[in-house]
Amino acid sequence: MADYEVPKLNGEGYIDIPKIKPDAMAGKGPFVAKPDFQKALNFPTDFAADPEGGYELVPDWKERALAKMDDLRHRYRSLQLYLDICVKCGACTDKCHYYLGTQDPKNMPVARQDLMRKVYRRYFTFAGKHFPKLVGAVDLTEAVIDDWYNYYHQCSQCRRCSVYCPYGIDTAEVSMAAREILDHIGRGSKYNNEIIGKVFKVGNNLGLPQPALADTLEGLEEDVEADTGIKVRFPLDEEGAEVLLVTPSADFFAEPHVDGLMGYAKVFHEAGISWTLSSYASEGANFGMFIGSYENMRRIALRIREAAIKLKVKRIVFGECGHAWRVAYSFLNTLAGPFDFLDPKYPVPQHILEVTWGLIQEGKLVIDKSQNDDKVLTFHDSCNVARGSRMGDKPGGQFEYPRNVIKAVCNHFVDMPADTIHDATYCCGGGGGLLTDDLMELRVKGAQPRMEALKYVTEQQGVTHMAAICAICKSQFTKVIPYYGFKMDQIVSVHQLVSKALVLQRPVSVQARPDEDDDDDEDDNDDA
């Protein structure tokens, strides 16, 4: 199954802190983006393929890399400050899931930052210019760039280290800056940059064009009708709907994501809230964050603003996606605001869980919890939701809302060990732009801390399923948990559970088509 050793779980819920194993994950990093992909993102394209099948760096790469670093440290206080003030206390050294899973010391957060800090010191500080050996400063060489590319693509930007750092140093800020620098010297990651290009071209990460999307949604309507006997709508580009739903495109077809999408649709249906998806902004994910590119992140975010204006909606709601919710909650107002054209009664944007939990509290949904009695649930806090966002009015609402909803629709729920949940949660191992097959070893090993916790509650408390609220978590887990002896279908969407337990009371959708009775004609019209 794999040409590397899959970690063995100890069953105690936690990983013992491993001894360091230098260069355990040395390598070339993920596939490099070709000039075409870089062009779409306004990055330099003056680099060519080399004879060995990779790519050369741009001419004057060293000067251009240093110039970009200098530019970034003058525009991001986080970067400048975090390069300056680390005291190397070691508090973060055992906090990264990739270090715990791989033992490579360069995956310790401080060592990962040091890859850039050593270069920063050499060229931009007194001590590093004059006494490089004393302060561990190094010249920027091609070997250093290779190390950057490899190890800054072994960071999922989950920010667990920043929770424990006495100064809040956030390695994600450093790895984002590093990727931005690398993108400017011909070292972009193919996975991320190709996907962003698709969003610019088509509207979503999958490159799913409007007709295909319409077709998929129609199929989902048929599935739900076959299942419940009720025509629950999955509207696309319907002007005048109250809510614009922005959700990760994986929700349109991947398992168990799509079961979550059915859940959102049923909730809107039951509450009588008219809603729509947009084919122009058919993507909740924003990979611009992963590559640390404010400009590209904003360009993606502006599509949502444009779609909201065009479709004349009153609210924007996001589906289950971790980093999408961070970008939405924390950045959307900055990137694409102000949203003064929306209904001021609602926060902009809202999370689907805020909508659903609100409706449950108001008693507007009829729930049959016994529908989920075949499962004992636990919940995986997604890193970006846990440490980079909020739900509701109070700090920590991001932990309460999903659990409240799960408990409202399921009878059996238990939490995993305390040091693996809430803001101490571990990344799934595939976040931050690493959900690509060329990083499979990293993904498997990086999942180990979460797998330890899951195994513990499985054995001790009979947990059968783990719910998640992030498209990447769901994709990553379904792919890697078989390596640890679990089954793919043990991963569920939170709104999949809602979907199962929700008893539909409303016979006709508030968005029912006028010719709803005549199924065949309607299909013909839609195809035309």
Partner: protein, 253 residues
Amino acid sequence: MTFVSILYGLLFWVATLVLVVGVGRRIYFYTQISVPLKIPTTPAPVTQSGVVWRMFREVVFFQSLFRANKYIWLFAFIFHMALWLVLLRHTRYFMEIGAFLGFLQPFGKYASFAMVFGLAGLLARRILVDRVRYISAPSDFLMLALLIGIGLSGMMMTFVAHTDITMVKGFFRGLMTFDFHPLPASPILLVHLLLVAILMLVFPISKLLHAPGVFFSPTRNQVDNPREKRHVSSWALELEKKNQIYRDEVKNG
């Protein structure tokens, strides 16, 4: 008036100037750099007063460090708190001893043991724990050695070989009014003061910047209110105003 006294007088003037101006410039630099995005590590306070309380817990109790690692917390907390007591005790060399300062003297005196203990603990971790050894540069060891040297030389004067502290007080009060007074001819005192001067000189160009720096850390000092209040940096606003996506478009046209 000895040559050494004049040399040390000049040294402390320079060191003080470097410390104050260096740290001041660095702080000003930090205030001038924008924070383009809202990045508090959540759960984060939703009000400004909540942020003040969060920061207070961080700088007084080292809350995050406590969650991270109890050994580092113990050594670091003991060292820093003892350092405060020792520093407060040392204000006697710059001002008259009032009731409060008098009350503090014995605490400051014995805090030196705690200070050196904490530093020794941190040094032991740096040597013994493979992860911490891996991330340590020579300067990280030297910084601890410097502080331990300051602590031990100071303790020598307090507990073993006393020096004429009235003369020391005269020397420093003299410096404050640009007036030279002699230092006592004590080798331990000269070592102690030299190490302190070195510490002051490297402060603005070293990781000691963590002390003022922590207050500027966006993950700790930002209010969690991005949906309620729009946050935009100056350079991002320029993009918006010129209706551009990429910064080089703004620059070029």
